[in-house]
Structures are given as C-alpha cells and as structure tokens.
C-alpha cells in the first residue's frame, strides 16, 4: 500500500512538471525520461545480470519502427500493434540470446554488436517499409479510447513508462530472480550448484530487458513523430553504457542519476565551453571509473565525511 502511494506521488509530481514546461523544455524533459527508462532496463541487463550487450538501442529502434509500421502500414489498432511489437522484440531477443548465452559472455558482446550494425543497414535499405535513410515521418498517434494524447498528456504517458519500468525491475531485482541474475553474474559455476539454470537465467534477463527497451521505443515513436536510423546506432548504445557505469551499475537510483547527468551535461556545458563538452565528458567518465568503480552512487556510499 505504502509503495503504491509512493508511486502515485512520484507519477503526480513528474506529470505535473510536464504541465509546467514550455515546448522546448518539454522536449528535453521527455527525452530525459526516455533515457532514464532505457538506463533502468540496461542497468538490469548490464549491472545486475552482468551481460555486456550493445543491442539495447536496437530494441528501442525495433519497438519504435514496429509500432509505426504496424499502425500506419498494416493498419492495426494501437493495442494490437503494441502487443505485436513486444512479441517481435522478445522473439528477436530469444533468437540472439539463446545461441549467444551458450557461449562465453564475449560472444554476446560480438553478437549484439553485429545485430546493432545489421539493424542500421536494414533501416537504411528497408525501402518503403522503413523509409530508408530518411526514416518514417508524418504519422501521428491514433486516439486512445477517444482521447487525443498530445502535449502534456503524452508526457504523462512517458512518466507512466518510467514508473512502470522502475517498479517492474525493482520487484524483480528484489526477488529470487534478481538474486539468481547477480549470482550468475558473480560466479556462474556456484550459481549452477545452487540449482540456478545459468543459460535460462541469462536468456530471460536479456529478453525481458530487451522487451522493456522495445516498449520505450514505442513510446518514443510518438514523441517526435519521426523515426530515422541515426538515433538507433551504436553511439547511443555506448552513451547508455556510460550512463549506467557513471551512475553505479547495479543500482536503479544510480541509473537515474547517470542518465540525468550525462543527458543534461551537454546542455549545461556547451554554452560555457562550446564543443569541448565531449572532452569534458570523457575526462569526467574516466575520473569516475578510476576513483570509484561503483560510480556516483558508490562515491556517495563511500563519502569520507560520513558519520558511522
């Protein structure tokens, strides 16, 4: 009950912010929320389950393109299109993870890098279906139950996505499955001796987080009402990795902090130092990893002035 109230309060506050912002800040706010949603699910995959995968943005893209194609080209009703999009993400995730997790973790990294590159090629060469390098444009979100979800109302949808992602992952993390994921990450051999099916645990964690990325992608599709290849490339996949590491991998609050800091940093820095912000970014990144492998949350936990 208490946690439900907390969730309602967070949703109310985050939504209220959406109603206060002008168009420019609304755009930044929405994208920040989407980065947070992605960082949360990537944190579970990378930080909790210990899988080095570079496909998170690919699934974000699969979700985004799938819903647009299914709604505009296949003419499916929105709920059906959304369901089909999730199913597609899960199937694709299984197709990647089942062979890759049988091998060493290194092969998952390779397989997901290949998938990420292939996806970009597919988007660029997809002709009518994907709109090629220009992507898909000039579509809009169909009304949902007679309500037009635009402006601040759509920001509420994104807030719901973030809270849903948070709650779902927090529950899983604090359950037998979260412990199994951490055990597999730390010591697969000992995990197996505890009765944990290592391959199965890895596949489920990968499919689950990939589906969450796909869900976020579906929500993203109607933020700009355009989807195009560059967004879903490797550059953003690496940024996501940095967000999780900087925040403190394995920690949900760390992911929120990491996503917020790294997404907003360029907005703060570029007026001050122009394009050098990329340099500052790199240096900050390096310092954090060297000083505290557990990221900003680790830095906080180990604060020297802490009274014991």
């Amino acid at each position: 009950m208490k946690s439900l109230l907390q969730a309602a309060l967070v949703i109310a506050i985050l939504s209220a912010i959406g109603f206060l912002l002008g168009p420019y800040h609304t755009d930044i706010y929405r994208k920040l929320l989407l980065w947070i949603a992605l960082a949360l699910s990537y944190n579970f995959l990378f930080g909790v389950a210990g899988q080095v995968a570079f496909s998170h943005f690919t699934f974000y893209g699969v979700g985004a393109y799938a819903i647009v194609i299914l709604v505009t080209q296949a003419g499916l009703p929105l709920p059906l299109a959304a369901t089909a999009g999730i199913v597609l993400c899960v199937l694709l995730a299984l197709a990647v993870a089942i062979p890759a997790t049988r091998l060493d973790g290194f092969y998952l990294a390779l397989a997901t890098l290949a998938l990420a590159q292939l996806f970009i090629v597919f988007l660029n060469e997809g002709g009518e279906l994907t709109g090629g390098s220009g992507g898909l444009t000039s579509y809009r979100l169909p009304d949902v139950g007679g309500i037009t979800l635009s402006g601040p109302r759509y920001t509420v949808v994104i807030v719901l996505l973030v809270t849903f992602t948070w709650i779902l992952l927090a529950r899983i993390d604090q359950s037998w499955f979260g412990r199994a994921c951490r055990a597999v990450r730390d010591n697969p051999q000992a995990a197996a001796a505890m009765g944990i099916d290592v391959a199965r645990t890895r596949v489920i964690a990968y499919a689950l987080t990939s589906a969450l990325a796909g869900l976020a992608g579906m929500v993203y599709a109607f933020v700009d009402n355009t989807v195009s290849p560059p967004i879903f490339g490797l550059e953003n996949a690496f940024l996501l990795l940095f967000m999780v590491i900087i925040g403190g991998s394995g920690s949900q609050i760390g992911s929120v902090i990491g996503a917020t800091v790294l997404y907003l940093l360029p907005f703060v820095l570029s007026p001050l130092i122009g394009h050098h912000h990329a340099l500052v970014f790199g240096v900050v990144m390096l310092l954090v990893i060297l000083a505290q492998p557990r990221g900003l949350t680790g830095l906080w936990a180990a604060r020297p002035w802490r009274s014991r």
Binding site: S175, W176, R179, A191, A192, A193, M194, G195
Partner: protein, 274 residues
C-alpha cells in the same frame, strides 16, 4: 553390498554409483568406481593427489558428465544431468576454494541457495502477489536461522568480503543447507581452517548427518576424516582400493602402501605436486 539399479526405495541407498568412469583423452581419471551412501551417513573419500576424488565429486554434482557407468539417486538414474538439475534434486555442494557471491550480504548468499524452492512464475513477482511476498519473508527468516546454525548470525547483513576464509566455508555450508539437500558434498572442508574452526565444522557436519542428510566428504586431513566418517572409500589412480570403517582403512595394507605410508597429509609418490 550394492543394490541393483532401480531398487533404491525406502531402506535402499540414497546414492549409488556403479562402474562410474571418466576419461580425459587417454587418461582414465576414474575407473569403474562402485560405492553407495545412505541417508544420514558420512562417507569419506580419500586418496593421493590425482587419485580422481574431485572428478568423482564433479560427476555426482553434475559438473562433469560420466564417460560410463551409472549414478543413482534414490534409485533414479541421474548421471549426466547438469549441475542445476542435480541441485534441484537435492544434491548440493561446497567448493574447495570458497565460491561466494561477492557484493551480496551473507543473508542474500544463503537466500540464493533457496533458488529452487523459491522460483515461481515471474509474472507473480512482477505483479507483487501476496504468495511471492510471503515466500520471500519466510525465506529470509529461514536464512537467518541457517546463519545462526553455523554461527554467523551477527554478520548476516554484512558483505561477504568481510569474512575470513573459515567463515566463508561456514557460509557455504549454510548456503548448501538452504537448498534443502538430501546429499551434501564437501570438497576438502577442513583445508585452511584453524583448529577451532575445524572443530566447529565437525560439529556442524555431525548435526547435518543427524538430520538424515547424506554427506560425502573429500578430505586430505586424515585426523579430521577418521573422527567424522562412518565409512571411507579410498581411491588410487581412479580405482577403489579399499572401502570400510575408518579404523579398518587405517590398517589396510593397500591403503598404507598407497597413501598412509608417507607422512600424514603428504600423498605417496606418483602424484605429488611441487
């Protein structure tokens, strides 16, 4: 003395291995091994370096598949099943070099050992249904009980990194017990322990056996083993050279020749590592 396959119901052995064999290329590490183990019994497995003890152990734990032969658990053939399936059937183990989950508290380590009992539909977890929450609360209480049993109750919230080697060994024992074992495999549990810790572990193993759990123990420390084992199997070059009561084993000429002839704890010639 061995029951034929399929007759391991009430009164039959908990574990029976028949003609168990494992080859590594041209090397036969375990050659046609036979023994059985009853519920509540402590069976020692000894032999010089390279005798095939760990290989035997790994086949029973499901880490290695046998090249030939049978492993029967309560009469059911389980040879070749993977480690997680063996754990699900109640065969749990500790590791020779502690294998704890770093970055987890002691309690979480023990709760991880309850995986098989706790694993349920993930949708129930996501939905936060009451059954999942009650199971989790009960598991937590049980973990604290087990930590108290091995004498680590005070440290339950601590990170495992804070433990000494001996405490880690005790934590592994609690974690194995968390899986509701029928059979526990200990790989050299006394190695690296201080005398007081050794006594504590002997006590714990005796209590485990008293709960009708079978215990299979690899050990180099003869004094430790002879004080605790009900029976002992002696391996040399992958073959069983003796089986019987500890006192009889100590006097067995073949054993003395292969193993006990040299200074205690130092294996006979043939397998000594630098």
């Amino acid at each position: 003395m061995n029951n034929p396959p399929g007759t391991g119901s009430a009164g039959g052995p908990l574990l029976a291995v028949h003609e168990l064999t494992r080859r590594f290329g041209g090397l036969t590490a375990v050659a046609g091994l036979d023994f059985d183990l009853h519920a509540g019994e402590v069976l020692g497995l000894i032999g010089p370096n390279g005798a095939g003890k760990s290989t035997t152990f790994n086949m029973i734990a499901g880490t290695l598949a046998p090249s030939a032969g049978q492993i029967l658990l309560q009469g059911n053939s389980v040879g070749g099943l993977p480690a997680h399936a063996m754990a699900a059937r109640g065969v749990l183990r500790t590791f020779q070099h502690n294998c704890l989950f770093a970055g987890m508290s002691l309690r979480d380590n023990v709760m991880t050992g309850m995986h098989v009992g706790l694993a349920s539909n993930l949708l129930g977890v996501i939905g936060g249904i009451a059954r999942v929450r009650t199971a989790e609360t009960a598991a937590r209480a049980r973990a604290d009980e087990l930590l108290a049993f091995v004498g680590l109750a005070d440290a339950r919230e601590q990170d495992v990194a804070t433990l000494s080697f001996g405490q880690g060994r005790l934590l592994e024992t609690a974690r194995a017990l968390a899986g509701d074992p029928k059979l526990i495999l200990f790989d050299e549990p006394a190695a690296g322990l201080a005398p007081a810790e050794c006594e504590r572990l002997t006590d714990i193993i005796e209590q485990i056996a008293a709960r009708d759990i079978g215990v299979l123990l690899i050990e180099h420390d003869m004094r430790f083993l002879l004080g605790i084992a009900d029976r002992v199997v002696v391996l040399d070059h992958g073959e069983r050279i003796a089986i019987g009561l500890p006192e009889a084993i100590q006097r067995d000429p073949a054993v003395i020749k292969a193993y006990l002839g040299s200074t205690r704890g130092v294996p006979a010639a043939g397998g000594t590592h630098a």
